[in-house]
């Protein structure tokens, strides 16, 4: 029994991504049609060429009909998946496995979320009947628990950590300002972010991901077929996923300074891809910066920084656009918002642009010759979460 992965067995041959914003004039159906149309054009395939579809949406629709009806897909298998905030990556993961298994030649993964029709701020989970004892805290508050725990464990002055977290937000806003698809395109200084009033623990709204609608999609084929469609496919190097047992909520040993699910998913992914030094082997990473402390801790969970050192690496600019390992070069959830079903595929879309040299000049990374990119999602809360890690490369081997 082992996790073997499907390294270099399948490849991405086309992608599309809508702009992420408050699409008051676009419904779920419109976003799906827009993303799929762009994706099929990118791949150079027709709708009927796709043998099977996977749709990721957390709560914008149920069943494959959510995709089949607006696209008028006739007689095709369409599967709707949900896996918290890793929903988009989960759709892609299933499509990759389906092609790798030999069941289908061409598969398409689509992710969508229409968040802004709820009438409320933020993301709000669909209520499942319960005994009424569950926590009702916002995600911002749950992740805010990480900041004081991290400061205490590593002896960092909370005011210093406040600026470190602001620097993460500022970096992602700077990257997003260069991205026409991003929801927020304004640079924010560290000082300005630090002046915002706290809404959850020490976090202000500028420590939180935006809230936007959006959709993205990718077409997957067997690696040996990829060059029939494009000269620059992206090869799947690793796909890993961990659903946590929730033991962090029960275990007094959990100290809120790391996410075991993310560590485990990264470890598995690196093993699948044959990566031993991610900080130097990866050209870039798109990580789940739902809140600034999340990105901080992820730098350690994903092995980019030593334990207790991520805050220094952030301050040193290691993860800046022109740093040693650029992180969230498209602006991240911070600039894009987080349409749950779409985010994972949106991250892959940035890798698609960067590793193929198609990112705009002012956003193109210097590290592209390394040829490998990582995408990461998490969903849930510290102590009880799911985590996805994918690794993608612009050449086989």
């Amino acid at each position: 029994m082992a996790s073997h992965g499907i390294k270099d067995q399948v490849a991405i041959i086309g992608m599309g991504c809508t702009s992420f914003k408050e699409h008051w004039d676009r419904g779920t159906d419109d976003l799906l049609v827009d993303a799929v149309t762009e994706t099929l054009e990118s791949a150079g395939v027709a709708k009927d060429d796709v043998d099977a579809w996977w749709l990721g949406t957390a709560q914008s629709g149920m069943s494959g009909v959510t995709l089949a009806a607006p696209l008028k897909l006739a007689g095709k298998p369409v599967t709707r998946v949900e896996n918290y905030c890793a929903t988009g990556s989960e759709a892609l993961r299933q499509a990759c496995y389906a092609v790798a298994s030999g069941a289908y030649d061409v598969a398409c993964a689509v992710g969508v979320e229409k968040v802004k029709d709820s009438g409320y701020q933020g993301l709000n989970a669909f209520p499942i009947p319960t005994d009424g004892t569950q926590r009702t805290l916002t995600a911002a508050a749950m992740f805010s628990l990480v900041a004081p725990a991290y400061a205490e464990r590593y002896g960092i002055d909370p005011d210093v950590l406040r600026r470190t977290l602001a620097r993460i937000a500022s970096k992602n806003h700077a990257n997003g300002a260069k991205n026409p698809r991003a929801q927020f395109r304004r640079e924010m200084s560290v000082d300005a972010i630090c002046k915002m009033p706290a809404v959850a623990g020490m976090l202000s709204v500028f420590d939180c991901a935006g809230v936007a609608d959006g959709a993205a999609a990718a077409v997957v084929v067997r690696a040996e077929d990829a060059h029939r469609y494009t000269d620059q496919p992206l090869y799947v190097k690793a796909l890993s996923f961990v659903a946590g047992s929730g033991s962090g909520l029960l275990d007094p040993g959990f100290d809120y300074t790391h996410f075991v699910e993310c560590e485990a998913a990264a470890k598995d992914a690196y093993a699948q891809a044959g990566i031993t030094d991610p900080r130097r082997e990866l050209a870039m990473a798109e990580v789940h910066d739902c809140f600034t402390p999340t990105e901080l801790v992820l730098m350690e969970d994903l092995g980019f920084s030593e334990r207790g050192q991520a805050w220094r690496d952030v301050e040193d600019g290691v993860f800046d656009l022109n740093g040693d390992l650029p992180v969230n070069t498209d602006g991240g959830l911070k600039s894009f918002g987080h349409p749950v079903g779409a985010s994972g595929l949106r991250m892959l879309f940035e890798c698609w642009l960067q590793l193929r040299g198609e990112a705009p000049d002012d956003r193109q990374i210097d590290t592209v010759e390394r040829g490998l990119a990582l995408t990461h999602n998490l969903g849930g809360y510290p102590g009880e979460m799911v985590s996805f890690v994918g690794i993608w490369g612009n050449r086989p081997g």
Partner: protein, 478 residues
Amino acid sequence: MRGIISAAGYLPHWRLPGASVAAVTGGSPPRGARTVASYDEDALTMAVAAGRSALAAAPERAPAALWFSTTSPTYLEKTNATIAHAALRLAGDVPAADAAGGLRGTAASLRAALRSTEPAVLLLAGDVRTGPSGSPEERDGGDAGAAVLVGDGDEHELAAVHLGGASATREFLDRWREPGDLRTRAWEERFGEQRYAELATTAWEEGLKDAGLDLADVARVAISGPHARAAAGLAKRLGAAGVDVADSLADAVGFTGAAHPALLLASLLEDADPGQVVALVSLADGADTFFFRATEAVAARRPAATVTDQVAAGDDSLSYAKYLSWRGVLPVQPPNRPEPARMSASAAERRLDWKYGFVGSRDRDTGALHLPPARVSFVGGNVDDMDPAPMADVPATVATFTVDSLAYSPSPPVVFAVCDFDGGGRLPIELTDVRPDDVSIGMAVEMTFRRLNTADGIANYFWKARPVRGGAGDERGR
């Protein structure tokens, strides 16, 4: 012998000084302060708190019946006492019923319990006294819970032996409230004053006779009346005759409605010396008198948190505006988040011991504690190999915390902490009775039964943690 096994009062943490009210409504500042049930407390939760205290003072005695009295019930039609039954984890063969609606329910329950053949009856009482801004109930009322465990026993088992008592009843209109109404209305109080004086005198004299006592035998009397005038006549007469009339708690607590006779009884017994005869007079659409003799066991049966301790504690920083919003008198804008969905009746019933009793499960093999209870252990993975782990009385410590200004709450912001229990076990849970600035890592907390929210008319009860206060009743002193 029949008597009181133990008795306890519960006063909520918050106080509203009369001066805070007068600063808004004008007029001369009234008496000291009233107790205020927090936004997540009601008559039932306060009664449960008192019940936990009374039962803890007599750990070897299990109630054979539970009766709950209040004029501010959570439910009509549905019995409220069964929720207390679940929270106190009483056995399935213990009946639980309400004596709700009228103020006299408490005295009538006490009288019935003292005459009952049940080995032990737990009387719970609670009330949230409120009214429109500027109303007598707001000014003179207080919020509290109280519990009295009545039963059989000898001198070593009872805190006080019941000597006798009497009742007097006559229909007259003094105070009334329509169901669902915020306002309690009153006839001219001088009418009630005279009627109560007559009824009290009759019940007092007949009660003395029933108990075989002379006036001189009575060391102390506590008189519970719905307004100051109601009790004034008897208090004056007994005082002149040399009986020590106990503080009615009007200045520090307020009249706590259905809770008040039981609260005063708990207070009387706290202060009673062995051998002393004490009397309780309850005036509520009639008069009931009770005469008790404190036993040698009275000190041993004293609850950990006395009424006196709780009067001395409390937080008077509550603003009048916040008080009005808690009582629904002043509507306030909630955060723009979805309101909580109603709980599922069947899901709640499946988790009865967890939701109401705060019982987790403990792995028999590894000792790993699970909150909520689980079938599969997070340490070692054993399946269905756990014992129930009652955690309501286990102290805990704040491991980390946050303040959430975005989440829906009847009184934002939500203060939330990851709490580690002494002896192992963790639960991330909401804090209450605390100001956000006062929370710190390492703070000692205790569990308290609260009403989280109400949706579709369904009150959602569960537990929260609150700081252990450093009062005299805090034996842990952490």
